[in-house]
Amino acid sequence: MTYFVIFLGVCFMLGTLAVASNPSPYYGVVGLVLASVVGCGWLVNLGVSFISLVLFMIYLGGMLVVFVYSVSLAADPYPEAWGSWRVVVYGLGFVLVVCVGVVLGGFVDFWKVGVVTVDSGGVSFVRFDFSGVAVFYSCGVGLFLVAGWGLLLVLFVVLELVRGLSRGAIRAV
């Protein structure tokens, strides 16, 4: 089970490496989907399955879908694929930077993997992550209102950004 979690961690790194060294945004989105699916699996292995499902729905099902539509708007009709030299050079360069950082930062106690069980919090035995997010609605209600207000404002920001100045709101791209 430990090795499975470490394998998920390695896949997470590979997914973000794919995003960073992408030959074309189509393949970058594939890497991002891989990284988020593996990240959800990692969180389930830690026990916080509610946070994992929130990530799945909001990130994969909301934000990445919008990204995929935008990639179809904005990317090349004839994309470059994985097998070009440029991609390999970028990928190796990024891996080299990370390795240099790890060597300089010290590589102590690599094999300690410590996670704790999460299934009870206090005398009322609610799930750890449910009870934490529920605080968002009770004690943290100010933060909740600020976040909701920010999301509403962003709708108007996006509307103003794509308005097209004096040429009308809807325009064929």
């Binding site: 790194m13 960073a20 945004p25 916080v48 990130y59 990370v98 950082g101 999301l151």
Partner: protein, 98 residues
């Protein structure tokens, strides 16, 4: 450094390097920003688990909300750039002339 900490440290580093070395498309830079956000979400949800403090589980949810705002704004700028210049290529953003 434990292997899990190393995973999201290096994932964040890869994403920020991908953002720094942008190439052709603006949307590649936006995808790297999204993967930076993802690689911060995972440790933010791991941290209350390891410290056994359930209240800090709000932090990843809040971060997801604000990152959705940021992604929406970035995509709106992408659409604005495509409408003005015809594509989202970064060499179109050349007002600075240097």
């Amino acid at each position: 450094m434990s292997p899990l900490h190393f995973s999201f440290y290096s994932a964040f580093t890869f994403s920020s390097l991908g953002l720094a070395f942008h190439r052709t498309h603006l949307i590649s830079a936006l995808l790297c920003l999204e993967s930076m956000m993802l690689s911060m979400f995972i440790p933010l949800s791991m941290w209350p688990v390891q410290n056994q403090t359930p209240s800090f589980t709000i932090t990843p949810i809040l971060m997801l909300a604000f990152s959705a705002c940021e992604a929406g704004t970035g995509l709106a700028m992408l659409v604005a750039s495509t409408r003005t210049h015809g594509s989202d290529h970064l060499h179109n953003l050349n007002l600075l002339q240097c």
